[in-house]
Amino acid sequence: MEFSIYDFSSFTAWIDQSLRASMSPGLALAIEMLIIGVVILIFYAIVGLFLVYAERKVCALMQNRLGPNRVGPGGMFQTIADLVKLLFVELVPIKNADKILFSLAPYIVIIASFMAMGALPFAKGLHAIDLNIGVFYLMAVSSMGVVGVLLAGWASNNKYSLIGAMRSGAQIVSYELSVGMSLVTIVVLAGTMQLSEIVQAQQYGWFIFRGHIPAVIAFIIYIVASTAETNRGPFDLAEAESELTAGFHTEYSGIRFAFFFLAEYINMFIVAAIATTVFFGGWMPFNVYGWEGFNKVMNLIPPFIWFLGKTGALIFLIMWFKWTFPRLRIDQLLTLEWKYFLPINIVNVLIMALIVLLGWHW
């Protein structure tokens, strides 16, 4: 059995075949699901912990500080220590709260981000499921988190939480539109919704380069709108600290709060990963048609490094936004969407369609 870090399809196929050879197909499927579930869960935790640490370090450096530096080398284990602390923190019971919804809400938020993780292509042949409507699926599940946020705000029996949840609802419903439209721009260019094919189509030239200006505009809108969709600054109105103390998760403590916290970072990872896949060629190395030597060097770097590197760069961009800009107000947030992003987006899709029809792209 040949195994390479450049192509995981033979590896996954080998696991599938060896499982199916020894047991019934149903059981094999169940075991595969279990393996994938465990792997994604572990990956999820690692990414979450790493991103929390990364965010702290990034913002510290931007603010002329050192950031965490006590636990472990360079403060590496600070987030683990925090997690352990959060696990032991008492879950404060809230008087007159809707108990079932209150405890359900963090799980909905975290499941929504979990589901999106399954469809992401991390490297060649390394994705749990390759749906033919991949883009559509990702959009659908990633916006499910708002249900959890709304439930959290409603069930907390706290006025600040309710305002935060309502803001979050208005915000995500509007910005979902922009995210969708900007992805549609690329879908028009790619001609498919299947993520693996979108990646494959970008072998010589990522879509952000191939799609001329419309693709760049689509990317800018996507990155802004997805920042808004993940409730991060400057669009963190749902948890606006200086206005609503902590917004929808004011009343949460312990591990339930940790779920919200973790979900925010994972959502950030997911939107960055989608942007990577759709605009920056996913796990594809940076290849230029005709430059054989250059391409060979680039291809030496394993695809999942490419993927994580690009995603990391985009996450850094989102963090950079958060630690630079002041927060918008709710009506300005909606104005930005309905007055600027939506019209620009519609025109953008039309231009992109025109470009594709006339064959101007390369």
Partner: protein, 373 residues
């Protein structure tokens, strides 16, 4: 039919939230009872007294030297200017002329206090609007001023440097160099303040046209300081009733006509620059001489009433001392700028959104211990 009536009732119901006494945006223990309709603020009602220490009552049992350390604790960001206010009142009552050196040092110290106060305003205002990085930049620069204070006065915020008749001790030999170093440094980084916040489109959208006070309203409510001057109300005590060495320097009174949050912010930014100019004019010319006038160990003010205003970083601080000839004052009243500036909050915030209420409250730059005293 019944259902419909119920619905009408719900629509008219106000959604009342308590902002404070512990809330990230109230900068202390201020409680605002806010009546909302959706996101729109219908009514704001400040509830005070969470940090009322009865300073005016305490003063009645203290000597004039002892009052000084209490004034530090009113507006803790203008501690030096508050000290100066009481000292000036006592000196006026005793008809003492303090040495020139003292006047110069007091003026420089007051302007440094103003700068550090506005730096903290910038820091916290940025944070109120969600720009967390501002907080660290503002405090980073403020630290340098506090170091200057610490070197000469021995305290960072609670300086207690003035005393009736002069200063507690002479400036540190290193003082002038440090101040010049700071001015050079701060002139180099103040553009970051503008880059990060002033010019930012989100910030401008958030602050322009919010919480407008017209000139007439500002005068009627007695708003002073940058808050009043942003409305075009020329109320700078330093200009109108110069004290210490302010009659020896030329400076511009920052006046704007708009009177909104953005111009209150801008007034403070400009004042920082203006303060640096004032220090520039004085720092090299500090005359030699004693650092305090000859004073009796027990100060007894002649019977009468004395009033003195100074311009703190937030507005006019008036000290009204009624003396019956004893070593303790008969009555001390502090006309604190924050107390007056807070009063029209309801007027300013009515009809705006919760986020604007935070911005408006931030732009008034309230210091709660000064309100409650």
């Amino acid at each position: 039919m019944e259902v419909k009536e119920k619905k009408v009732g719900l629509e008219n119901e106000e959604y009342i939230i308590n902002m404070g006494p512990q809330h990230p945006s109230t900068h202390g223990v201020l409680r605002l009872v806010v009546a909302l309709k959706g996101e729109i603020v219908q009514r704001v009602e400040p509830h005070l007294g969470y940090i009322h220490r009865g300073i005016e009552k305490m003063c009645e049992n203290l000597t004039y030297q002892q009052i000084i350390h209490l004034t530090d604790r009113m507006d803790y960001l203008s501690a030096h200017i508050n000290n100066e206010a009481v000292c000036l009142t006592v000196e006026k009552a005793l008809e003492i002329e303090v040495p020139e050196r003292v006047k110069y040092i007091r003026t420089i110290m007051s302007e440094l206090t103003r700068i550090q106060s506005h730096q903290l305003f910038w820091a916290t205002f940025g944070m109120d609007l969600g720009g967390l990085t501002c907080f660290f930049y503002g405090l980073r620069d403020r630290e340098k001023v506090l170091d200057i204070f610490e070197e000469s006065c021995g305290g960072r915020m609670i300086v207690s440097y003035n005393t009736p008749g002069g200063l507690m001790n002479d400036i540190h030999p290193n003082f002038q160099n440090r101040v010049k170093e700071f001015l050079k440094y701060f002139r180099g980084v103040i553009h970051e303040y503008d880059d990060l916040l002033t010019g930012n489109v989100i910030f401008q959208e958030r602050s322009k046209g919010m919480g407008v006070m017209t000139k007439e309203e500002a005068i009627a409510w007695g708003l002073t300081g940058p808050t009043g001057r942003a409305s075009g109300f020329s109320c700078d005590i330093r200009k109108h009733y110069p004290y210490s060495a302010y009659d020896r320097v030329t400076f511009r009174e920052i006046l704007f006509d708009e009177g909104d949050v953005f111009h209150r912010y801008l007034a403070r930014m400009e004042e920082m620059r203006e303060s640096m100019n004032i220090i520039d004019q004085l720092i090299d010319n500090i005359p030699e001489g004693p650092y305090t006038a000859k004073m009796k160990p027990v100060i007894k003010l002649p019977e009468g009433e004395y009033f003195q205003s100074v311009e703190t970083a937030r507005g006019e601080l008036g000290v009204y001392i009624v003396s019956d000839g004893n070593k303790n004052p008969f009555r001390v009243k502090f006309r604190s700028p924050n107390f007056v500036n807070l009063a029209p909050l309801n007027l300013m915030a009515r009809g705006s959104k919760i986020a604007d209420l935070v911005a408006i409250g931030g732009s008034l730059d309230l210091i709660i211990p000064d309100i409650d005293r």
